[in-house]
Symmetry: C2
Subunit: 243 residues, 2 copies
Amino acid sequence: MANPTAAMLVIGDEILSGRTRDSNMHRLACELTKHGIDLTEVRVVADDRAAIIAGVRALAATYDHVFTSGGIGPTHDDITAEAIAAAFETPIGIRADARAILEAHYDSTGQELNAARLRMARIPDGATLIDNPISAAPGFILGNVHVMAGVPAIFEAMLASVLPALTGGAPILSQSIRIDRGEGEIAAPLSELADDFSDLSIGSYPFMRDGVHGTHVVIRGTDAARIDAAMTRLAEDLSGGPA
Amino acid sequence: MANPTAAMLVIGDEILSGRTRDSNMHRLACELTKHGIDLTEVRVVADDRAAIIAGVRALAATYDHVFTSGGIGPTHDDITAEAIAAAFETPIGIRADARAILEAHYDSTGQELNAARLRMARIPDGATLIDNPISAAPGFILGNVHVMAGVPAIFEAMLASVLPALTGGAPILSQSIRIDRGEGEIAAPLSELADDFSDLSIGSYPFMRDGVHGTHVVIRGTDAARIDAAMTRLAEDLSGGPA
């Protein structure tokens, strides 16, 4: 059975302007791979209501799970929660449990739960809260969409709390080999290998070190024995065939 | 006049599996910002023909310029050129000038221009070649789509050669200030500032250092005097108003 699929929607002007280098996509990719869920598409959009709505609708309709990052803080440019609610045509308002979480947090730190901070208790109707162990303001799950913070430490913590509840497929196993020849020299045997092991994903990634071209070949799949077989065959092909 | 818009299509299984951390998106974002072109959307898709075709069609129809990275090497998983040609319903074949570039390169390095490497001379009809000073195999421009390599050093070199030919808008200027208060404390004055300076983009980015919450506020726009005025007003607001 095919693995579940997932997509990510990264929300934030700062990524698109180059001010911030996103790290959440890479983190999500690694975690989903370990969990047996195939990350299939990522989109990055600005803090723009129409762009968020269009992006989340397209991804939620196409993939099993969607993860968003960014735009759930207290300031004027944090519009993700409102946009997600609009995408699902769901009412949104301050929710008592989310408010209680924020009250407890700001009480304990001696800070005021002002109007701006209270916006972080605005949760679409019917959503499930995602715990935020770092700065309290929760994320939420609405339908198949997981709405999470953009701050990497909080994104990671939220991801860790939602992943165990998702049904993963078989974990993706991989083996890789470094070959000190350029991609162009090994392309033909690699292509034949890919044809003969069509149940596996065979990727080749060129590198250049000290002026020498080389290739990393990565073979990925869910069946360890098949990956072993493909690796053995590749080694034979590149050494001129079996003895 | 509004700046030209751009989008990026990152192509590669290795990004989505987490094997490779993409760096080309951040590079493109920084270069376009300097050049006065607004990067407005990024999509990341797998080495999948249908996904590449759908992605490039959607982005080319919506934005002034599209940049792709990845999938133009010699191996079986390098399918970008064919997919771009299909997206534009344009024939593709080995082109004499691209072949000559590869022949000269492999002659000079004493390597064979085999069938796999020759695939890198397959260029859609009507495209313009993009110079590759590092490993010779060219990128190309078809319509408003710039098809470039995924290897970061080559992507950068190709970008440097195409950017001067694109008409940029006014370069985006920015000023930033570090405020040692949490976002929630400054959200109200920031929101008023954003209303009063709606010609500027005002972003706030929380950080936590040594257990203390702080905020970077970044004000961006094309008019230096307006950015100065907004920064002065922000400083006044946060210090309790002008004397």
